[in-house]
């Protein structure tokens, strides 16, 4: 559905994208992950036909974006980064304006506007001027306009940025609900976000693709094993021995008291090839009569992930 072949983009002498290639299958939700300034927005703008690539070709729904820009835009829904909408226009008036551009026929337009208002839970705000809306609602209006006219492809630039946790969950559920029906490419700089919403992830940094895989395989490839953080009260040496004695445990690290960010208990990190190790740890601690305060999987944050991936890349180059 989306095909990016060898795309390079220069801004003057600055290279924003350097030979980027990947593809997205129909109905797939793919996350574009990268730090700020990695080229995500540039890539999305090329995909939406806002500006062309310096080199390479981009296809959406089998059409070349450079030569069939209008047809491509007809099939696209786009949520730009940091949407600031017309402050003195009401939500409904704005969506009607967008619908007039995207959809033929008054009846279909009205039905579509009502549909997206309800899908994005915007009905109570429909009459409000957009300048008076909270950031979360503005983001929903942005998403609502992208969903108008049932697009085949959705390009969402940082759809959950700046939202509070409840709003993030709402938007995430909405996007996940669209999977299978619509092809979605969304960008984020939060690894966890992408993991929750996307089946596949493309990691981009400084205009290069660092990795492209399913979220599961990527975390396995990066981590190789499950890491679990345990905080428990009890005799330290016995706890350490009990954890080490567990099956398939590769390594147990004990943290200093300063390293643990709470006053109670000792903190350990258990590394194991068994992804269900947490259950056994809990059983062991409770069985021995120790108090368990905390038990959670440790996922690599984006920073660690990049460090790992860039090192892999350097090794390959060497």
């Amino acid at each position: 559905m989306i095909g990016v072949q060898n795309v390079t983009k220069y801004y003057g002498q600055v290279c924003a994208l350097d030979g980027v290639s990947f593809s997205v299958k129909s109905g797939e939700i793919v996350g574009l992950l990268g730090p700020n300034g990695s080229g995500k927005t540039t890539l999305m703008r090329i995909l939406t036909g806002f500006f062309p690539a310096t080199e390479g070709s981009v296809h959406v729904a089998g059409l070349d974006v450079a030569t069939s820009s209008l047809e491509v835009r007809n099939r696209l829904g786009y949520l730009p980064e940091s949407v600031v909408l017309y402050p003195d226009m009401s939500v409904r008036a704005f969506l009607h304006f967008c619908a007039r551009v995207k959809i033929d026929g008054t009846v279909q337009r009205r039905a579509n506007v009502e549909r997206v208002l309800s899908e994005c839970a915007l009905e109570p705000m429909a009459h409000r001027q957009m300048g008076t809306l909270s950031k979360g609602y503005r983001q929903r209006v942005g998403l609502a306009q992208a969903l108008l006219g049932k697009p085949e492809v959705l390009i969402l630039d940082e759809p959950t940025v700046g939202l509070d946790p409840n709003q993030v969950i709402d938007i995430r559920e909405l996007i996940k609900g669209l999977g299978g029906k619509v092809t979605i490419l969304l960008s984020s700089h939060i690894l966890h976000e992408v993991e929750l919403m996307c089946e596949r992830v493309v990691i981009i940094d400084k205009g290069h693709i660092l990795a492209e895989d399913t979220t599961d395989r990527l975390s396995e490839r990066i981590q190789g094993a499950a890491n679990v953080r345990v905080r428990a009260s009890g005799p330290r040496p016995s706890m350490l021995n009990a954890l080490r004695a567990l099956k398939e445990v590769a390594q147990v690290t004990e943290h200093d008291q300063e390293d643990s960010d709470g006053p109670e208990g000792a903190v350990f990190t258990v590394r194991s090839s068994n992804h269900a190790i947490a259950r056994e740890i809990a059983q062991t601690i409770i069985h021995n009569g120790w108090a368990l305060h905390e038990l959670r999987p440790v996922t690599l944050d984006l920073e660690a992930l990049f460090v790992r991936l860039t090192r892999e890349e350097q090794k390959e180059a060497a």
Partner: protein
């Protein structure tokens, strides 16, 4: 085919007429033009010039209205593209299935309607005059044709300047400065005789308006205004397209 044009036109008209700004601008416009009407009338009543008092009065009146339009149109054009750029909505519009020309002409026509709305109130002056002293309306019609052509060319120029910046104040001052410069060029023929300045002075829409104020509809001047509008529309469309040129090799 024109659906997108209508969509943009409708949006811009709502944005003009649902905000108090247009009424404020119209009030200022009418205050200034009303004072000109009064002072021009007092001038001719007190002094009178030759036999054609009416003809001379309308000439002076249209010349003064020209200045008032020049001072107000930049306030109507300044936000049209600059605000879209500032808000970032331009990115949304330019990735919709819409041609740049639909966007441009939608905005142009909306601004023209807003300007004509403002200008239409000045028709009260000839109506008032003819109730006091009946006169030949052919004196007034060319003046209004000229004012409409002049307004459209001011709008074309203002839209172009608005498309160059994301700062509304810069867009407003830029347009006002450009229009005033064209006016100033018509002050002293001696200063604009040679070189580039003579070329610029020759395309000043302010000078080309003069024959309309005198009561003539000259097709040559109408053609000039149309070309002027087409030229600035062309520049604006290229300016919108400029995003496509970045990073080309």
């Amino acid at each position: 085919m024109f659906a997108n044009f209508w969509a943009v036109l409708n949006k811009e008209l709502r944005s003009y007429f649902l905000s108090p700004f247009i009424y404020l601008i119209s009030a200022v416009f009418l205050l200034l033009s009303g004072y000109y009407f009064y002072s021009d009338l007092v001038f001719y009543v007190q002094f009178g010039f030759g036999l054609n008092i009416m003809e001379n009065f309308w000439q002076l009146m249209f010349t003064d209205l020209r200045l008032v339009i020049m001072l107000t149109v930049p306030f109507l054009t300044m936000r049209l593209f600059a605000e879209e750029k500032r808000l970032g909505t331009i990115e949304l519009l330019l990735t919709y299935p819409m041609r740049d020309t639909d966007l441009f002409w939608g905005k142009f026509v909306a601004c023209a309607i807003a300007t004509l709305f403002m200008l239409s109130f000045t028709l009260i002056y000839p109506v008032l005059m003819s109730s006091l002293q009946p006169f030949d309306w052919t004196l007034v019609v060319p003046g209004y044709v000229g004012l409409v052509m002049l307004s459209l060319s001011f709008i074309a120029c203002g839209l172009f300047i608005s498309s160059l910046t994301d700062n509304i104040v810069v867009a407003g001052l830029g347009s006002l400065g450009t229009l005033l410069f064209f006016w100033i060029l018509s002050w002293n023929d001696g200063a604009t005789q040679f070189g580039l300045i003579s070329t610029i002075a020759s395309v000043s829409m302010v000078t080309h308006f003069q024959s309309f104020a005198l009561g003539f509809i000259d097709t040559k001047e109408i053609t000039f205004f149309l070309l002027f509008i087409i030229f600035f529309s062309f520049l604006t469309l290229r300016s919108l397209e400029a995003r496509q040129w970045r990073g080309r090799r």
